[in-house]
Symmetry: C2
């Protein structure tokens, strides 16, 4: 091997994607330069461009991977709790688990849209698609719980979730999760 790192060395592509995922999420897409990703993943520049012909390709790979990873984690946690407790506000608890991670810096997709200008872009489309899938999932949950007007309920939940994430990113205050709890309970109460 040109640069011996033992048999367990991960392939260059994996190291690049891991480093990029960390930096893109932590520092932002525009703020993270190719050179830094190359340096921190310990890879040659040509290896980088062999696997990702452009920075945009790397961003797309990052967003797709994060979408897969986050969605399956979120669905798993919510389904498990819903099945045992049957209450919609277990979602607040799942979100709180996410917020507890020390590197939490909001939702990568919200941040991506915030960073995207007014013109449309591949990144923006992926983010919008991610949120559409999340809304779809919430509608199936509402249906499973037998709630009335599941589509409207899902949109209400989306507003609560996005607000909770953004608010938590801005303030870092745990009271945000309490507010999330109260709001979900409020929309779960039957109309008088």
């Amino acid at each position: 091997m040109a640069h011996p790192q033992g048999k367990t060395a991960k392939p260059a592509r994996d190291r690049i994607l891991e480093t990029a995922s960390r930096l893109f999420y932590q520092e932002g897409l525009r703020a993270t330069g190719i050179d830094r990703i190359i340096a921190e993943s310990g890879v040659a520049k040509m290896s980088f461009y062999r696997h990702f012909p452009s920075k945009t390709d790397l961003i797309v790979a990052f967003l797709n991977a994060r979408h897969q990873r986050w969605m399956s984690w979120f669905k798993g946690e919510v389904d498990r709790r819903i099945d045992s407790e049957g209450r919609l506000d277990v979602i607040a608890e799942v979100l709180e688990e996410w917020f507890q991670q020390p590197d939490f810096r909001g939702c990568a997709f919200i941040n991506t849209v915030a960073e995207s200008g007014s013109s449309s872009s591949r990144e923006r489309e992926i983010a919008v698609q991610h949120k559409a899938e999340l809304a779809d999932y919430l509608e199936t949950v509402a249906r499973k719980l037998g709630l009335p007007e599941p589509a409207a309920m899902a949109e209400d939940m989306m507003v609560i979730i996005e607000g909770t994430i953004v608010r938590r990113q801005m303030t870092g205050d745990r009271r945000v999760t309490w507010a999330c709890h109260r709001l979900i309970q409020a929309i779960s109460r039957p109309y008088t």
Copy 2:
């Protein structure tokens, strides 16, 4: 005058700040270069650096101006409607007016935080301060309406508002405002 534009030409500083405000909001802070601001405001480079010693100074001026402008507009609209209708969900109508503006691209302060990396920055602090003032104002509104637990109510409202803004920026769908309406009505209903 060096570059005659008639008696009504605005001072260079104003033209710079107006152009920068448009571009920073529309395209993002990092995506907007000094050179473009200089070109589009029709000003010489030295005039720019006379008024704003660094790009950061211009960003700070932009955020402070936008904070003043947006907050006074929002408070004015909400106060007027609250006084005549006495319902908290007039806030959804005020937000919808904002969303109708053709250049709407979310909240400049949320976008700023999304663009700021994990390290703290002057821009981030201004954004956090802006949201703290908004939360304070909402608490006074809740108090004025005689609602129970105004502090918790204000935090609930913040989550709803942030979620509505982000959701609207992401989807552009008017149903988001309906969800905002429903949510405010839900937390306004007395607990059973």
